[in-house]
């Protein structure tokens, strides 16, 4: 549920905003990936909405307070980066969806394109919110559940339509698919259906763990290299939760370094902490996999020499990277289908490159 270069962006333009917005919420919630059902932080009140039937008005709680949706929404603007996925899973097509709105990026992927019925959805920027454009779309609900807006933007948006922010207690771009889907389900009056969808995805991850008991306890990390600098992802980053959901364990040393930060820059001198792991997923700029593999330091790491690495980029056709990164109820099963063979190949020393990087 993250932008591809999220840490840098978050520190940059979006970052100031989300840092201010998320100030209070920027604390850690750990290991919630598969436990949406017992998540206590989102509750539904209102006239009997908990039955799962559509009985409005519905009131939902989120980071910025409570929002009441007076009637079943017909024109939903899914502004949060991955908010369209739970809606599509519930059979709802949003009128417009959030996007970086730049050429290198697409919010339409194989796992959610059926939701748009072959048409190209209207994309609106969540990086710089264009309020007038959003108002002109005449939404009756705006979702920003995957996070990334400030309190101020929330207030402004609320003048256009009811707005639902991220669930309480989760960092921006690190809302696990459970709370993400359940909150959106509550918002559209379909909480029970949403919980069932989440349970089905949980079961798919369980199945992977059962099929691969040998992965239990193997150490891993998601390592990134952009313009020569290196970083590792923290435990709450969606791509990290994918790895732990399929039964792998994050490197204890690197987990200690990165903690609950989305990602943490590390010195090239510390790369042997990455090199000593059992399997590593690398991410770099599109077209730069060969450069990363031949980097004088990276190429000498044991996990690279032995081929126990999976190579990805944020090119929009790298569906494995994006499906892990979105980590929604729709993209998760897709990530399992693509990722399990890649992890198997890596553990067999085949140094696989994720498809779509030609």
């Amino acid at each position: 549920m993250t932008p591809p270069l999220p840490d840098q962006l978050r520190l940059g333009r979006r970052g100031l905003l989300s840092a201010m917005a998320g100030g209070a919420a920027a604390f850690a919630v750990q290991g919630c990936t598969n436990s949406a059902l017992d998540d206590p932080s989102s509750t539904t009140s209102g006239s009997g909405a908990s039955s799962g039937g559509a009985s409005f008005p519905v009131t939902v709680e989120h980071r910025f307070g409570q929002t009441t949706i007076p009637a079943e929404p017909q024109r939903i603007l899914a502004l949060g980066q991955t908010d369209c996925d739970p809606l599509i899973a519930l059979g709802i097509t949003p009128i417009a969806i959030g996007s970086f709105a730049e050429k290198w990026y697409t919010p339409v992927h194989p796992w959610n394109e059926h939701g748009f019925g072959g048409a190209k959805p209207e994309e609106v920027s969540f990086v710089e919110i264009e309020f007038e454009k959003l108002a002109a779309l005449q939404p009756d609900l705006i979702t920003m559940v995957s996070g990334g807006i400030s309190q101020g933007d929330y207030k402004t948006l609320s003048k256009i339509a009811p707005v639902v922010g991220p669930p309480k207690g989760y960092q921006d771009s690190a809302v696990p698919y459970g709370p993400h889907t359940v909150l959106i389900g509550q918002t559209v009056g379909r909480e029970e259906e949403a919980k069932q969808i989440v349970a089905d995805v949980d079961a798919k991850y369980d199945a992977v763990r059962q099929a691969h008991p040998e992965w239990d306890g193997l150490t891993t990390i998601h390592a990134e290299s952009f313009t020569g600098a290196f970083d590792v992802l923290g435990r709450n980053a969606p791509r990290s939760t994918f790895l732990t959901s399929v039964g792998l364990a994050l490197s204890p040393e690197l987990d200690k370094l990165a903690g609950t930060q989305y990602s943490k820059e590390i010195s090239a001198e510390q790369l042997d902490l990455v090199g000593d792991l059992d399997v590593v997923i690398w991410m770099t700029d599109p077209g730069a996999i060969a450069d990363l593999q031949s980097n004088p330091v990276v190429s000498r790491l044991k996990v690279v020499e032995d081929g126990r690495s999976v190579w990805t980029t944020y090119v929009k056709t790298d569906e494995f990277m994006w499906s892990m990164d979105w980590n929604t109820v729709l993209s998760g099963p897709y990530a399992i289908d693509l990722g399990v063979p890649l992890l198997e190949d890596a553990l067999a020393g085949k140094s696989p490159i994720s498809a779509g990087n030609d």
Partner: protein, 350 residues
């Protein structure tokens, strides 16, 4: 050719004082070189990984493979070489620029060199999808060169380029380029990312191949800069007097600007923009050497290298095991030193 050489010194007392002064300056330079040696050893010995001095020495001299060799030979040695070259180049470029513009506050960035390099790198990232720092080098050099030519042409106008006109042209070009950089970066998040990491000014991820690429540029720049001391001394007398003494002002100025571009462009290409070194080093040095450019230049070169390498080592230690970028440290330790000098001494006039 210069007035200094032609100046007949007859008084034995004066001759003695001059000799004493010269030996003090030589001794000072030797001390600086020794300090540089110490800092270089520290730069190879200290880092995010704790390695004992014996291990470092063994890895440096014998190789022996493994983690220690990887860290010492492939990370710390290129990084130290880069710091040495970048510091020397920036120190020299600053001294050169202050002499050329007869402005004690001149900085190598004054003629648009940094802005030109940065603009070219941004465009390379945004439009050509260049992601490897090794490839930035050429764009940075090209951008620095183009910006300098533009500044020189604008500054020349009718008649010869005067220092004031050059500085004005440099300011104008820098403003334009900064606008272009903002426009590209704000509309392209990929460029924003790549540029953000480049623009910080860091030696952390310098590789040997990048260093090797810029060595020829820096070598030419350093030789030209060191050879220009006497000519710059003549220039310090003012255009008319210097011309009367036979100095060819337009040529000196042109060569000086080309040299600055080479030094600054190459240094910026390696490490990204590192400000302050070019301003503070020649200034500090001048307080000790006096106004003779034949001494200011070599001193600035050595002290610049010391400042950059020391800053880099400090940056590795203060947040250990994380690192602080060299440009940040340079500014933080350079600024108080600079203020102290400005307050305590009468500024050495140019």
């Amino acid at each position: 050719m210069t007035m200094l050489a032609a100046d007949p010194v007859t008084d034995p007392a004066e001759e003695n004082a001059a000799a004493r002064r010269r030996s003090a300056l030589v001794a000072g330079l030797v001390v600086c070189l020794a300090a540089l040696g110490v800092v270089m050893l520290l730069s190879i010995g200290v880092g995010a990984r704790n390695l004992s001095p014996a291990t470092v020495w063994d890895a440096l001299v014998h190789g022996r493979g493994g983690e220690a060799e990887l860290i010492v030979r492939h990370l710390r040695v290129p990084r130290t070489a880069a710091g040495l070259l970048v510091g020397a180049a920036l120190g020299l470029a600053g001294a050169l620029m202050q002499a050329l513009t007869r402005n004690p506050l001149a900085d190598p960035g004054l003629l648009g060199v940094n802005a030109g390099a940065a603009c070219a790198v941004v465009c390379a990232i945004a439009f050509l999808r260049i992601t490897q720092p090794g490839a930035y080098v050429w764009f940075a050099l090209l951008g620095a060169g183009v910006a300098t030519v533009a500044v020189y042409l604008l500054g020349s106008g009718r008649g010869a380029a005067s220092p004031v006109r050059l500085v004005l042209a440099g300011t104008a070009i820098t403003a334009v380029l900064t606008g272009v950089i903002s426009a590209v970066v704000l509309t392209n998040s990929i460029a924003f990312n790549g540029f953000r990491s480049w623009t910080v000014g860091s030696l952390q991820n310098v590789t040997a191949s990048v260093v090797v690429q810029v060595v020829p540029f820096l070598a030419v720049g350093i030789v030209c800069a060191l050879a220009s001391g006497s000519a710059l001394n003549a220039m310090a007398l003012g255009d008319q007097l210097a011309t009367a003494l036979g100095a060819r002002m337009a040529r000196i100025r042109f060569l000086g600007i080309v040299t600055t571009t080479l030094l600054c462009g190459a240094a910026t290409a390696v490490a990204g923009p590192i400000t302050f070194v070019g301003l503070v080093v020649p200034h500090t040095v001048r307080a000790f050497t006096g106004p003779d450019n034949r001494w200011i230049l070599p001193y600035s070169m050595v002290v610049g290298a010391i400042l950059v390498l020391t800053s880099d080592v400090i940056g590795r230690v203060v947040l250990w095991p994380s690192e602080l970028e060299v440009s940040v440290v340079t500014a933080v330790i350079g600024a108080p030193v600079f203020i102290q000098i400005v307050r305590r001494r009468r500024l050495a006039q140019l």
